[in-house]
């Protein structure tokens, strides 16, 4: 038992000593950041970038581009040039850092409908989430979620039309107000590519576009050639 523990410790020490630091990664990341105002990145530019980009527009303000910092099992962290961080879990905003107040935590009592494959998301699905914001009075902030519609539609990016599945979800906040979140999934890949969502009754509504995913999709179509 003691031998096993010592071996485990040695292995952990080895991994620790060999790991690269986040600092060196951030240096690489800085190259990928773009100014946070009315950003429009060309298709060619997107294809050249090694770090994926996300468009973010709070309310009706200018659109910013955020770069991907990390992505693991449905969770993706995006950073803006002015060091704001948006964390998405299955495409839903799960953390906001650099916004006041900060969104620190979200947890669903039943699985988030967005964690399901798009084919399994259907109208009538309900769930409840609990959020903790940085202000104590906004701890245990409970939101009711209900998928109210799912329909085919199209979106246009880079002058190309994409078949989409639009999922509409009504969220009801503790103050009694509600909002319709909208999520657009690519009909072919099933990936979430665009959304409009409002995390709480007091926060902005955010438009999010996973523009690098779209550029990748165009690349796939171009590579595959024209359909017969």
């Amino acid at each position: 038992m003691i031998k096993r523990n010592l071996l485990m410790m040695a292995l952990l020490i080895a991994v620790s000593a060999c790991s690269s630091t986040i600092e060196s990664y951030k240096q690489t990341l800085k190259i990928a950041l773009v100014p946070a105002a009315d950003v429009e990145v060309s298709l060619a530019d997107l294809r050249e970038r090694t770090v994926p980009l996300l468009y973010l527009r709070p309310n009706d303000r200018g659109r910013a581009a955020l770069a991907l910092v990390a992505a693991t099992e449905g969770v993706a962290q995006w950073i803006s040039a002015d060091n704001r961080i948006v964390e998405l879990t299955h495409g839903r905003i799960s953390k906001l850092q650099g916004f006041k107040p900060h969104l620190d935590f979200i947890q669903f009592s039943t699985p988030d409908p967005l964690s399901l494959p798009v084919a399994k998301i259907r109208a009538g699905l309900t769930s409840r989430s609990i959020q903790d914001w940085s202000s104590s009075k906004l701890n245990s902030y409970v939101i009711e979620h209900e998928v109210i519609a799912k329909s085919p539609t199209t979106l246009t990016f880079f002058e190309q039309q994409f078949a989409m599945v639009l999922v509409q979800e009504m969220v009801t906040f503790p103050d009694g107000s509600s909002f319709i979140n909208q999520f657009w999934f690519d009909a072919n890949s099933g990936q979430l590519v665009q959304s409009i969502q409002k995390p709480s009754h007091f926060s902005a509504q955010f438009e999010l576009i996973e523009i690098s995913k779209i550029a990748q999709q165009i690349q796939v179509i171009t590579t595959a050639g024209p359909q017969a």
């Binding site: 986040i22 950073i79 879990t89 409970v142």
Partner: protein
Amino acid sequence: MSKWIVLTLTVFCLKLAAQQPVSEIPVLVQYQQQWQGYFERPRIQTVLAQQVKLTNVHWPSARLYSLEPEALADLEQTRSQVLEQLRLLIIAAAKEPQLAMQLQETRQQIARWQLAKPVALELNPNLALVRQQHNPKLSKGQYLLVAGKRVSTVSVFGLGGERFFMHEQQRPAYAYVQQATELYSDTVWLFSAQKPAREIPVAAWNRTETAIATGTLLFVPLTDALVEQDFPELNQQIKTLLVHRVPS
């Protein structure tokens, strides 16, 4: 190709680890019963990224503790003094069985607490990523990292031990104290992860409507009638222990 590089580096590091006695490793961090050693003082972001693989960690309640033997020895001495004072109070309360039982429960719970010295640092991987002041290098030493699931309760500790109540949005501290019906005090001590302890008013004449965070612990001091004459330092010593209590 990259697999070979990783393998070579791992073998090299294993050799290094084998040559380095554990006592000479500058920084050791314990997380969920496992130790991880660092040859160079790591930044906190590196520690968090390597130790915590779970995606649903409730970072507002996460904490880092120092396990330095000197600090622990002082704490254990304080605990011994608290336990002895409570023992004497139990003997003095022999004619009041209910009070004696409540004191006994308080004493038993304090005896079970794990104690360590909290490091004054807000643990937030996202902040650590973007702000250098939230990503300091750890000093040499041994640490305990506590980071886990969200606690959905508020607890009230006082005579009779700890009671737990579901946290509700915007519910003020005094409402939880009222719920622990047999406890009364003009003020209580509020302990919240990553923030200094503070005294807040909770009596009908002085209370405020300030909401508290989930996972908060409220300490209702033992009454003056019980401790003021013989053990005037007891409440302050229990407060010291609560500052250093590692959540179980």
